[in-house]
Amino acid sequence: MSENRFAHLLLAPAGLWLALLFAVPLGIVVAVSLGTTDPIYQAVYGWHPENYADVFDPLFTPVLLRSVGFALATVVLCLLIGYPIAYYIARFGGRWKTLLIALVVLPFLVNYLVRTYAWVAILSDEGLVNGIVTDAGLSENGVRFLNTPWAVIGGLVYGYLAFMILPLYAALDRMDPALIEAGKDLYGSRWQTFWHVTWPAAFQGVAAGCVLVFLPAVGDFISAQLLGGADTYMVGNLIQQQFLEAANWPFGAALTIVMMAFLLIWLSIYLRSAARASREATA
């Protein structure tokens, strides 16, 4: 057996895994998206491309814009919160680095749904935070945190922050600290050194973090479902609603496919820029 054939054989388990658990289910979703339902909600396969036309009904425009807006706000907040954390761990973590990264990851071992429910308890009108707020005399009747767009964005930031911190940490940790010293030796101010040295050196981490946060955030439904109100309906809620309440699996599947295509565009832009960056780095 040639070495090449052997290498291909190594791919077999992963290939089988992907075929069975990704390609086949995706194929079923595509097939359902072109179908219709019988009177008691069984999806019936068929040829109904109009399901896709319905996706672009102007009715859903506010839902799509809201989802993208919430996801972008989440990305910006994750970057603002995550960058200093990643920077600190990478530059000053020393022998605690592994522990600190483990602490970042630890909450993510608990199911996202459960963690979001915890926020419901913490932020409710008569919950922990409002108890402190009223006891401290900051507000007589407490503050309404829950069921607002801010609560939804907060839930998304909390849910996906680690996806920002980890790639940022990896990029910053790889960076040679001598570069920063060189910047200072050349009389760069702290800000100039950061902007001209650190930021470009770790930019691939920023890009990866932004994409990794944006993609799940834009399709999320749990945060809006549990922390949102009447005006926080996101595309994830719309898809969930089609699968559950409306029991219209074909339309839900069509929405899913269009959503995946939309996300794939962003993913491919990112992957191409990452590939170019790595070519330039090795050139």
């Binding site: 009177p39 069984q42 069921n147 109100g229 009447a230 219209n248």
Partner: protein, 328 residues
């Protein structure tokens, strides 16, 4: 014909928190079976999961869905004469509108939809569905996240047939629902949590949840229920056995067990919804002694508005109308 004898573990599919868990444990012990519970929070996902090939031995559809399941030949006939405890069931259910001769279902619970409110902070309820837009409770009002219930409230308020499929009427109901949105805190079926946590002052809900909210708050008298003057949805749900059930014998045993008068009383005391079973009459009367509004009478069932089994295209019109409200 199926027989009431244990033929395996019971695969049970119901709303969550809708049956006394102590009775389920007792059933397991008595018949030496396990009850494997799954939950749904609305009829459509229940049917979609059932039709996607999952097998359950006992399901709990509402009346209009029982009719639809019979039409589509999805549930088994119940051998009524082989069950011991059906004599306790109200005679209204001998031949209900949705199931001739009760051949395919045994009634489980009765409900009325209305408005729950906090009497300690709200003093201007008017008895109308318009109270869902009470400015004094702005930001503390929840509507049921349920397309049937949301549209029914609007249709009744406007004096339309509750089950209307006239597009111009549904349009008016839709505009009313959209107009409420700035005052709403959200759409939710988690009514017990919303009210007992203090987040809701006005809550669109089902009568039985009132009892459970009272169980959870410091001062139960502050939790009141309003039956709206323009009319209100009233209905029932039922035990049914799907055609693909693998253990229909155990399912029959379970139905009979739940209809035992003593067990019915214990179940009602736990979940707060009246059962059409004479064994629970005194227990429910005690629960409702200060609040006749949560009682569901046979007059309510006969004269009130029950959800109709709408044809598929009309049902889509309803779900799409509510979707437009939520997406706007």
């Amino acid at each position: 014909m199926i027989e009431p004898k244990v033929d395996g573990d019971l695969y049970y599919f119901n709303y969550s928190q809708y049956i006394n868990p102590g009775l389920v444990k007792e059933f397991e012990k008595k018949y030496d079976v396990r009850v494997i519970q799954s939950y749904f929070d609305a009829m459509e996902p229940m049917l979609a999961k059932l039709r996607a090939g999952n097998t359950y031995d006992v399901i709990f559809p509402t009346a209009e869905y029982v009719q639809r399941l019979i039409q589509q030949e999805q549930i088994l006939r119940i051998p009524r004469d082989k069950l011991e405890n059906l004599d306790n069931i109200y005679s209204y259910f001998d031949d209900p509108w949705y199931d001739p001769d009760s051949a395919h279902s045994v009634p489980y619970s009765l409900y009325i939809t209305g408005i729950g409110y906090r009497a300690d902070v709200i003093d201007n309820m008017t008895g109308s569905w318009n109270d869902l837009g009470n400015e004094e409770a702005a930001g503390r009002i929840y509507m049921l996240d349920d397309y049937q219930e949301a549209l029914a409230a609007g249709n009744l308020l406007h004096g339309f047939d509750m089950n209307t499929v006239v597009e111009s009427e549904l349009e008016q109901t839709k505009e009313w629902l959209i107009g409420l949105k700035p005052l709403l805190r959200g759409y939710s079926v988690d009514t017990i949590t919303n009210m007992s946590s203090g987040n809701a002052w006005i809550e669109h809900l089902w009568n039985g949840d009132i009892i459970n909210i009272r169980y959870r708050v410091d001062d139960p008298d502050t939790i009141q229920f309003q039956k709206c003057s323009e009319g209100f949805p009233v209905g029932s749900d039922a035990f049914c056995i799907p055609v693909n059930a693998e253990h229909p014998g155990t399912a029959l045993k379970f139905i009979d067990f739940m209809c035992d008068p003593k067990n019915a009383a214990r179940n009602v005391n736990w979940n707060g919804y009246p059962m059409p079973n004479r064994g629970q009459d005194q227990t429910f009367a005690d629960l409702a002694k200060d609040d006749p509004n949560i009682v569901v009478t046979i007059d309510d069932l006969e004269g009130g508005d029950q959800f109709a089994n709408l044809p598929q295209e009309d049902r889509e019109l309803w779900t799409n109308t509510f979707l437009e409200v939520k997406a706007s």
